[in-house]
């Protein structure tokens, strides 16, 4: 698995995103690799603005 911190799988073997699906900066490269390597184009990364505290 390319990014086990970000992805899990269910009982049927389908991929799942862990937690809220927010990618911490240090895992961004791994997330991008997962997107690039998915042959089914099933993963999408979106850039969002986090609310400022």
């Amino acid at each position: 698995m390319l990014a086990p911190e970000l992805f899990d799988s269910d009982d049927l073997g389908y991929g799942l995103v862990r937690g809220e699906g927010i990618v911490p900066n240090e895992l961004l490269d791994k997330a991008k690799l997962a997107v690039a390597n998915c042959p089914e184009f099933a993963i999408v990364i979106k850039r969002t603005e986090l609310p400022s505290t």
Binding site: L12, G13, C38, P39, E40
Partner: protein, 403 residues
């Protein structure tokens, strides 16, 4: 025997010896002049698309391309289903869904100790030998023993499995009799086990299937036998070819071999590259409705050689596709297929391959091809190494003081 091919662009033949001996060079040459090769040697006409994009589109287009055939044959066989691989929508979805749970990543992960045990004991049996066939004495045994495990049948039945697979596949491209005979024998074999597991259920796949339900009904015997045949075929020939190819690569590329021995954490990435470059499977489709894909017309009744292995070598999809780069990072390969029929056993195959290579390299970090023995490759729609004679290093004595 078969008339030799003179023009691969319009008369391809996957049973021609040139095919398996020069697969990648052949595809690379064909790509210079065409995007789809054709052939009239097969009933209805046959097509061999070479572009990843076209292969992808065909795999996804279940309206025009049916999965009812697995093998491109001279004469089409009467349809004998192996659900879910031969199922089209709408039957496909529930048939696949019911067989997913035993092959999910977390379930397969539980098999790791057993796989390692099998692999290590196969390696133990090779100790003391200086020349071995890494394919039939090692690679081939692993998925076969795992399959007999998962079905809970006698491991020595593996020999029967191999004979049936040969009969159902390559032997029946020219004549359908071997497939018909094998089909009867397989039905009788699994029928016996099904009867037994209905009365004495266990934790195996046969018990799982005799208890499974589709739309609230138990599966028909035909469905169960079809799925078990699929598991037998898919679980044995394919993975073994892939492990054989990986070992062939390592035997002939000492730099890669040394690197993987020094950096075993790289093995999973290398496995993905071996899967890409040496993908073991070419599937098939039947054209059930006329259509055009990538500018090429496909006629109704035609057979398509759907080669995921060829897709993996498309320069439009992969940089330096014919170079095997064991740390290739960008690798969206299609070795396990694309779309709804994507290989159910991919997690198991990856685990078997990874453990096989890990343990082999730990035991035999230095091995090379035996110079005067030819490497024997699989034919037809299976791509891999059937016979791989390698020299093993001489061992340090077990008790150094007694050297």
């Amino acid at each position: 025997m078969r008339p030799p091919v003179t023009d691969w662009e319009i008369d391809f033949d996957h049973l021609d010896p040139h095919w398996s001996e020069n697969l990648y060079t052949l595809w690379s040459q064909l790509r210079q002049t065409c995007t789809v090769a054709t052939s009239q040697r097969f009933e209805g006409g046959a097509y061999l698309p070479l572009r990843y994009q076209d292969i992808h589109d065909i795999a996804y287009d279940t309206e025009h391309f049916s999965s009812r055939i697995l093998v491109v044959r001279g004469q089409k066989l009467p349809v004998s289903g192996m659900p879910p691989v031969t199922s089209d929508p709408p039957a496909h979805t529930p048939a696949r869904r019911l067989i997913l749970p035993p092959f999910a990543p977390k379930e397969i992960a539980k098999l790791e100790p057993r796989i390692r045990e099998i692999v290590v004991s196969l390696l133990d049996a090779l100790e003391g030998r200086d020349v071995v066939d890494a394919s039939s004495e090692f690679a081939r045994e692993i998925p076969v023993l795992m399959t007999t495990d998962m079905l809970d049948v006698d491991p020595s039945d593996a020999l029967l499995f191999r004979q049936w697979i040969q009969a159902l596949g390559t032997d029946s491209v020219s004549s359908i009799e071997p497939a018909m005979k094998a089909g009867e024998e397989v039905e009788e074999y699994f029928g016996r086990y099904m009867r037994d597991r209905r009365v004495n259920p266990g934790n195996d796949l046969i018990s799982y299937l005799v208890q499974a339900e589709l739309d609230g009904q138990p599966l028909t015997d035909l469905h169960i036998i079809g799925t078990l045949t699929l598991i037998m075929v898919a679980g044995t020939e394919t993975t073994w070819s892939a492990i054989g190819s990986a070992l062939w690569h390592l035997a002939t590329h000492p730099d890669d071999r040394r690197r993987l021995t020094a950096e075993p954490e790289l093995i999973p990435t290398a496995i993905e590259e071996f899967l890409r470059a040496y993908a073991p499977v070419t599937m098939a489709r039947e054209v059930v409705k006329e259509t055009t894909v990538g500018g090429c017309p496909y006629s109704r009744g035609g057979q398509v050689l759907l080669s995921f292995a060829a897709a993996n070598r498309d320069p439009a999809k992969f940089e330096n596709p014919d170079q095997v780069i064991i740390d290739r990072k960008l690798n969206p390969h299609a070795a396990f297929g694309l779309g709804r029929h994507r290989c159910l056993g991919s997690n198991l195959a990856r685990l078997e391959m990874t453990i096989a290579i890990e343990e082999w390299l730990k035991r035999f970090p230095d091995f090379e091809l035996v110079p005067d023995k030819p490497v024997v490759r699989s034919e037809g729609q299976l791509h891999g190494v059937k016979e791989l004679w390698v020299t093993l290093p001489t061992f340090a004595p077990r008790h150094p003081g007694l050297g």
